[in-house]
Symmetry: C2
Subunit: 430 residues, 2 copies
């Protein structure tokens, strides 16, 4: 790519940047938690449509994906789980195709009083945009869209097909991205601007979600000593799971990408509920766990060990021995994925091109990083033989309070993305 085009693309990103942040603010104001993504998806579809992209909008059909590799057990109905894809068709088809992927769903905002300002009333302050989902990952969706806009502002379109994907379900199953695969969307590479500080993600962990249900047959608290309480019976199970977490993190179990990390695999007790009445010994409790696994670690083997750990701990407990816990899987069945292990020519050249674009946008070397989370990249990398580049802006407190994303970082990522598109797909005149 010529230096002249690089400069023009960067200028175009700068020229459109105020509008881009306005777009991001509006997108972030849609409270698109699971089940509530519709208004945000309407907004995305409208924005893609006015730009002339071909719109595909469909409700995920579990029956179409449940037997595919990578499927995760579903939480609740999918009545309102709608994906949106906008497609650019190249006239010349002289270049490579590309998927620009991002997820529209955001995690719950948590207690409102822990936010300095309301989570779905985004605000810009001190060079950061604050709001739930602003970083994870609506800034990425905005970057994808405005990078394409920058090409257009320069009189160009990608010289290969580009599918702009706005998917649901990234935060709990990945079934939104999987549904895009099932619908036939393929490309020579994928870019997913998840907020990892302008680093290229070379490896990501797998994630398993499970629920543990405890039940018992207690009575009035007046007649019960310790040990027969379905809430407190959960505590030794959680301890046993943490012991398992430490074993899994042992140095001998780490693949190369994670060899330097003492504790890459985090076990999180994310939710708990139990009991109905303060003066009744609780008859039930349920807790929800997220556990990570390394790339290459088998989900089935991990599940078997999780079950063994829980049931062994339960058998040590007088209360649980006769009423063993039930383990329910209800979300992520996500394998790990390592771009670093993809030695294909496509992967190598995609990374080289992203590296050049990054350097042109930032003046810095592209840092490569193994992350301790999962992303939708695994679907493309593992199940569609497509190199998946996860590369997005700097954000802070994602999944936390006062989630924020840095504006200048969004600007740099958008420029790098525009240059990467132009390089990877080549360009054709509009």
């Amino acid at each position: 790519m010529q230096d002249d085009l690089k400069a023009r693309l960067c200028d175009a990103v700068d020229a459109g940047f105020d509008r881009q942040i306005e777009f991001l603010s509006e997108l972030t104001s849609h409270p698109s938690t699971r089940g509530n993504e519709q208004s945000a998806q309407n907004f995305m579809a409208d924005e893609l449509s006015v730009r002339g992209y071909e719109i595909d909008r469909w409700q995920i059909d579990v029956a179409e994906i449940e037997n595919l590799p990578g499927f995760s057990p579903v939480i609740g109905p999918y009545d309102d789980a709608v994906n949106v894809v906008g497609t650019h068709r190249s006239n010349t088809q002289k270049g490579r195709s590309l998927i620009l992927n991002g997820h529209i769903d955001v995690v719950p905002e948590g207690p409102l009083d822990m936010w300095d300002t309301p989570p779905f009333e985004p605000r810009v302050e001190g060079g950061w945009l604050y709001g739930r989902g602003g970083g994870d990952m609506k800034a990425g969706l905005a970057s994808n869209l405005f990078a394409l806009d920058a090409l257009r502002a320069c009189g160009f379109a990608p010289a290969g097909d580009v599918h702009f994907q706005s998917v649901v379900e990234e935060e709990c199953t990945g079934n939104g991205a999987l549904a895009c695969l099932a619908r036939g969307y393929k490309a020579d590479a994928v870019l997913i601007p998840e907020p990892f500080s302008e680093h290229l993600v070379t490896a990501q962990l797998g994630v398993i979600w499970f629920q543990v249900h405890l039940k018992g047959r207690p009575t009035h608290v007046a007649y019960v000593g310790s040990g027969a309480n379905a809430i407190e019976a959960a505590f030794p199970l959680i301890k046993a799971l943490h012991d398992m977490e430490h074993r899994w993190n042992a140095a001998e179990n780490r693949p190369d990408d994670y060899a330097h990390m003492d504790h890459a695999l985090n076990l999180n007790v994310g939710k708990i509920e139990g009991g109905d009445w303060t003066s009744s010994v609780p008859a039930w409790s349920v807790f929800d766990v997220r556990m990570a696994i390394f790339p290459g670690q088998s989900i089935e083997a991990a599940k078997a060990e999780i079950e063994e750990v829980i049931l062994d701990a339960a058998r040590d407990n007088d209360f649980l021995r006769n009423s063993l816990p039930e383990i329910v899987y209800h979300g992520f069945h996500a394998e790990g994925y390592a771009l670093s292990q993809d030695s294909s020519e496509r992967a190598i050249s995609a990374i080289e091109m992203l590296d050049r674009a990054h350097q042109a946008a930032t003046g810095q070397e592209l840092v490569r990083e193994a992350i301790t989370a999962t992303t939708d990249a695994r679907f493309f990398g593992l199940y569609a033989d497509t190199p998946a580049l996860v590369y997005g802006p700097r954000a802070e407190a994602i999944h936390g309070f006062n989630e924020r994303v840095e504006l200048e970082s969004i600007r740099r990522i958008t420029k790098a993305t525009a240059m990467f598109i132009a390089d990877w797909c080549d360009v054709e005149e509009i």
Copy 2:
């Protein structure tokens, strides 16, 4: 009382017993959990009204009771907290007055799948009536009512005023009984047929309810090691509370009524809730605790120690040190009460008369028992100088699943109650 009247009262109870169990079944079918007592109270008011009792029915006004001794902090609004009292006025006033008290509220039924048959569809099987609240304490309300019916069937009425009280809020605050006191209901003695196996309750514990609220500022689970999780941060606090429970139960702290019990004071973590998303480190949790205290133990001192224990444990925790838990009181502030300490002539003679009635109904000595729960007896005993006799039928699994009450025990208690009324109040012809 003449043996002839005793026999006639027992016969009258037998003659009405089928109707009594029908009444109890219908009463038990009303799901009168907190906030849902209205239909059961309507039923009680109708039954009292058709028998000619003077009906007093009123909504509890917090402003009228909140400064009285024995008041407990309120859970939620009292829009539908309605007491019902039916009063018999004696024509002769030659005898003593009596309050027959029972509570209409029942504790939540818990998971339906743990009941063999639905909790609010009472059934009789093998000599027991099954259903939530059948034992605790609708059988007692039925016994009070049908004992009076038995007198009437013999052509008599009590020769002193009798107030039949059907109160709410016994299971969480006792504010229903307190509101009866505030409304001016007084008598020479009180009988409360709580289901304690036909024993006379000589002492009951106090109970304190409190909620512990934990908060933190966590983020995506990918970035968090152990120790910063608002759910798991609760565990050491609960352990510290159990340590306190063991100290309070130490032999040197027990009053005489409880000297023989190693563990009269039970601490119950009855409810817990926390977290919003499996892959977000939980930012909050709340757990609800019931703790008992001995008669004579100060509520204020107990609360101060509870708070100190929680805050000390929190200060030992890296996560909580900078965000100390909030302790909220939202239910029982109940002192203990010991009838055994009431050396008044009224108490002694009431107990003697109940003992005689019990022996006549059962052929057994009256067993005296210190219980590990609380009842509304404390309001009469502590704040109205009125001996409160807690004496009711045998029940099992109260607050549990398949709660049940023994029919023959109800029969015996009803007979004993009828004879006690006739003895305590004396009788007059209708």
